[in-house]
């Protein structure tokens, strides 16, 4: 009736007000959704809280991850600012501000300790960052971590090695991280020309920034993609927590007259509100959790909480993209269901066959991006690598639903009843579990690929010290100088023989040149000492032996020039003739590996240079943990420049071991997050089925049957995901290995560990949903009036 009237009697309303009217109505609808999210009763609040916490956890992990590069930057700019390594290249004249420095870094129970001895040339010496004035003689400046260590019982042995008492602490500017052990002390008798002593006129790196090893670069890239993709997927899944209930609520809204568009806008309002709450939660968790990173140390790398600053562009991206993702997710999800006034109808997706080709497109494209990089051991385009790895991993998530449809669709209803129910359930509505498992599969595929890179790294970076436990495990090297308190082998032997040392053999080491470019190390000592290095059938003072080596075969009878070719050493050119009677000798394995050169008994030796170098082979009592520390203390007492090498039976680069541990920890956290979304899905499904469950109780169903059915229902998608992940992970790993030129090598232990973690998650999810199942398997569900 109003239509003809408005056409005749009243002027048509202007376009503007209609428009703003609609906008206002839309805004009101979105606002209604937002209110529903916040005031929708206990259930609604629970759902909003669940989403907010889920999104928040994911966001906190994302914030932490995107802060890592900035954190590393801050750290390396601080370490660069205190760098004093000049490699003897600068000739600096002494002045009011110059200082002499000596690196006396050591290690204590496997932790490295950075130490410097300093002597100012004038009254106004340059100071390292974090230091206001040089320590008084007899005292030292230490990092807070070192101060605490020295004060503790654990630091007792280290105290003896320190050049003084604690006189102050070093500020944050001079430390790489809160757990770093650093000290500075002043020593008056430091002089230029003493071994390793340098003169500097300022701190700060002079050498250009070294680019990261491509292998390490690849590792870092893959770690980021592998751990962040599932977290992002988790965030997406978290925005759909409680979706079923939400759909029912929308149905109720439709019943009172909302149309399709209105329900979409209401849903959008709800999604954006809970995602925004999630962002807030994530921000709070990040800020509150940040100081706690100082308690963790990975690969001797500790981090200041304040160094964790997400870069602004990424932060802005996160803040914008999380609500948008939530919005998109909820709208996409709404397209799959028809919200009718009287309920929710799920669109039968089973009818529309999932297509394979476009799902294959992404992993193939990823492979195509990575393939050209193979063999380029050197530099490669990082973005190409990131894109390639991401596409392959995304492929895992995209292929999984297809594989799932194919395989689960084929499974018959045979076998046990619990199995039949699980299979049928998955066939009818496996969508949500596939989505959650997609994240597991991505994490697993990435972890497997990474694990392959790591075992390659292990092979490259772990050297077996083919050590004979009966032989020396340690050796020390010292060049005699004014700083040394022992100047001959006897005195060295005596000083090195500390508790836990079972024997010490000290040689004088010299070097000799012959011919155009011939070079030989000379090992000088008595017969007993020389037997430490080689199998000698008979030996008397005055004998000379030449190790079996093609380069040295011509040596007996030749005249050699003593000393290194270093022009700096002011040493008269001493010549010495290797006796023609020198006999061949076979090297014994030592801590050095096999030595080579010429063995000379003291009687036949050329005269020693003014500042000779002594090498001592030290046997330590096996099993005495403190023996190496005492040896280090003795060495420091002999000379701050004394070099000590202590062999362990296997030399593993501890960085890799801990990165590897970190990777598995990260994978476990990621899988736990994914497990959380699986759990939420299962619980929702259970609640939705309370009537069916109650009817099953009436029919006398056992709890165990239903429990097993939940287990199968969780296990089947996870197993499928893992199989797919293993296949693509191995492929990706092979490509990555080829990129860094390492031969293919499938790592079974990695797959086993990842599968183990995933199995744990499945068990956890099942166990956690059992109480709810027991609770719902009660006759209450039979009430419907």
């Amino acid at each position: 009736m109003t239509a003809p009237l408005s056409g005749v009697g009243r002027p048509a309303p202007a376009a503007g007000p209609v428009h703003t009217g609609r906008l206002r109505r839309w805004a009101a609808e979105v606002g209604l959704g937002a209110r529903l999210a916040l005031t929708g009763g206990r259930e609604g609040l629970l759902r909003t809280a669940l989403t907010a916490i889920g999104v928040g956890l994911g966001v906190a992990v994302l914030l932490l991850s995107v802060s890592v590069p900035a954190m590393l930057d801050a750290r390396s700019s601080r370490t660069a600012a205190r760098d004093d390594d000049r490699y003897g290249s600068d000739k600096i004249t002494p002045g009011d501000t110059t200082v002499l420095t000596l690196n006396i870094g050591t290690s204590y129970h496997g932790r490295s300790v950075r130490g410097r001895l300093v002597r100012p040339d004038g009254a106004h010496p340059v100071l390292p960052p974090g230091v206001r004035s040089l320590p008084a003689p007899g005292t030292m400046l230490v990092s807070p971590a070192l101060r605490d260590l020295l004060a503790s019982r654990d630091g007792a042995l280290l105290r003896d090695r320190m050049p003084g008492t604690v006189g102050g602490t070093i500020g944050k500017a001079g430390l790489s991280g809160p757990n770093e052990l650093v000290y500075y002390a002043v020593r008056g008798d430091l002089a230029f020309g003493q071994p390793q002593v340098q003169r500097i006129d300022g701190y700060g790196s002079h050498s250009p920034h070294e680019p990261l090893d491509p292998f390490l670069l690849m590792l870092v890239i893959v770690i980021f993609v592998v751990l962040l993709m599932p977290v992002a997927m988790f965030v997406a899944a978290a925005t759909r927590f409680g979706g079923e209930q939400r759909d029912r609520r929308l149905a109720a809204v439709r019943l009172v007259g909302a149309d399709g568009g209105m329900t979409r806008r209401i849903a959008a309002g709800e999604a954006v509100v809970s995602a925004t709450l999630g962002l807030l939660v994530g921000g709070v968790v990040f800020l509150v959790g940040r100081p706690f990173v100082e308690f963790f140390e990975v690969a001797q790398l500790s981090v200041y909480g304040t160094d964790l600053r997400p870069p602004l562009p990424l932060l802005a991206l996160l803040i914008v993209s999380v609500p948008l993702a939530a919005l998109a997710m909820s709208l996409v999800a709404l397209r799959r269901v028809v919200v009718e006034p009287l309920g929710v109808v799920r669109r039968a997706t089973a009818r529309t066959h999932r297509r394979l080709w476009w799902r294959l497109l992404t992993p193939v494209a990823g492979g195509a991006l990575l393939a050209p990089l193979t063999g380029s051991r050197g530099d490669f385009n990082q973005w190409q690598a990131v894109a390639g790895v991401s596409l392959v991993l995304l492929g895992v998530a995209l292929l999984l639903p297809w594989v799932f449809d194919r395989i689960v669709g084929r499974l018959g209803g045979g076998g046990a009843l619990s199995w039949q129910m699980a299979v049928r359930r998955l066939q009818l509505s496996g969508g949500s579990s596939v989505r959650a498992v997609g994240a597991i599969a991505v994490a697993a595929a990435g972890t497997i690929a990474l694990q392959m890179l790591f075992s390659a790294a292990d092979a490259t970076y772990t050297r077996d010290a083919h050590l004979d436990p009966g032989r020396a495990q340690s050796y020390t090297v010292v060049k005699v100088s004014a700083l040394a308190t022992a100047t001959d082998s006897g005195a060295l032997d005596a000083k090195l023989r500390t508790g836990g040392v079972t024997s010490v053999n000290t040689f004088r080491r010299d070097s000799a040149h012959f011919g155009a470019s011939g070079f030989a190390t000379m090992w000088i000592g008595d017969c007993a000492v020389l037997r430490e290095l080689a199998e000698l059938d008979r030996c008397a003072d005055g004998d000379v032996f030449v190790f079996e080596h093609p380069d040295l075969a011509e040596l007996p009878g030749q005249t050699v020039v003593m000393g290194d070719s270093d022009p700096d050493t002011e040493r008269p050119h001493t010549e010495w003739t290797v006796p023609a009677t020198a006999r061949p000798a076979k090297a014994l394995p030592g801590p050095y590996g096999d030595v080579t050169g010429v063995l000379v008994t003291t009687g036949a030796a050329p005269p020693a240079e003014p500042a000779p170098t002594f090498v001592s082979y030290v046997h330590l009592a096996p099993g005495d943990e403190d023996a190496p520390e005492r040896l280090l203390n003795a060495a420091m007492a002999i000379s701050p420049t004394m070099d000590v090498t202590i062999q362990r039976s296997q030399v593993r680069d501890s960085t890799f071991a801990s990165i590897r541990r970190g990777l598995f920890a990260g994978a476990a956290v990621t899988l736990l997050l994914v497990g959380l979304s699986l759990l939420v899905g299962t619980l929702e499904q259970l609640r939705e089925r309370r009537r069916t469950l109650a009817a099953l109780v009436a029919f006398g169903a056992r709890r165990s049957t239903m429990g097993w059915s939940i287990l199968w229902q969780t296990l089947v998608p996870v197993v499928l995901g893992l199989v797919l992940a293993a296949a693509l992970g191995l492929g990706l790993g092979a490509l990555l290995l080829a990129t860094v030129n390492v031969p293919f090598h499938a790592d079974v232990s990695g797959i086993a560990i990842v599968s183990g973690i995933a199995a744990g998650v499945v068990l956890l999810v099942t166990t956690a949903s059992l109480p709810a199942l027991w609770r719902l398997m009660r006759p209450d569900g039979l009430r419907f009036e």
């Binding site: 209803g413 039949q420 009436a698 006398g700 039979l782």
Partner: protein, 223 residues
């Protein structure tokens, strides 16, 4: 008497659902339980079937006392001797109709082949062979209830408990379900406890019991 309830009381919180209800049913007998909604019909049925325990009183099935049994024993009894039909069928949505009918047999430990063969026979008896491969969501309400009836009878149950089995159906479909249901129950000699508030549905029974305020009255005996 095959199954009897003696002086049952049951309350949920402050709601007294049953207050001294007694009734009994002979083998092969069909008894309608009528009464206004909220009067305690379903509660009585749940007690009789051993799904919930009454606060006081006894339920005797073939001289065994149900409330003295453990949960496991009662479940086993329900699996083997009882069958159920509910208002909305309560079919398991992900299983096909045939699998739904075979479900109680499988719960009772029968092999799948055997269970499905017997289920197919029952679908045939209830004139719904064509829905065997469909899921409950794909069949009409009347067909679904007939699947539920087949499911209740497939184990050779001695007692079938039906709670408003036609409550969600129109008259025509309700009549049809009731005719097939009572025919099938009589042929297989099962007793039926039929909870309903519709007189026309109750008229399919042999006698009726009226529940009022938690008490069961046998009006015919009065008369």
């Amino acid at each position: 008497m095959m199954l009897s309830a003696v002086e049952l009381t049951k309350s949920f919180g402050s709601t007294q659902a049953l207050s001294g209800a007694s009734m009994s049913i002979a083998a092969g007998e069909i008894v309608a339980v009528m009464g206004p909604s909220g009067s305690g019909k379903s509660t009585l049925l749940h007690c009789l079937a051993g799904i919930i325990r009454p606060d006081a009183g006894q339920v005797l099935y073939r001289d065994q006392e149900l409330s003295a049994m453990s949960d496991g024993q009662r479940s086993a009894l329900r699996r083997g001797e009882f069958g159920f039909v509910f208002q909305f069928g309560q079919l398991v949505p992900e299983l096909t109709c045939l699998e739904n009918v075979a479900l109680p047999l499988r719960l009772d430990g029968h092999r799948r082949k055997d269970a499905q063969r017997r289920a197919a026979e029952w679908l045939d008896r209830l004139e719904i062979t064509d829905v065997a491969g469909k899921r409950p969501g794909e069949v009409s309400g009347g067909q679904g209830q007939r699947v539920a009836v087949a499911r209740a009878l497939v184990t050779g149950a001695r007692v079938v408990f039906a709670d408003e089995p036609t409550g969600a159906l129109d008259s025509l479909n309700g009549e049809r379900v009731m005719r097939l249901f009572t025919d099938a129950a009589r042929t297989s000699g099962a007793a039926v406890v039929l909870v309903t508030h519709e007189a026309r549905v109750a008229a399919y029974a042999d006698r009726e019991i009226v529940v009022r305020d938690g008490k069961a009255l046998d009006l015919a005996r009065h008369a």
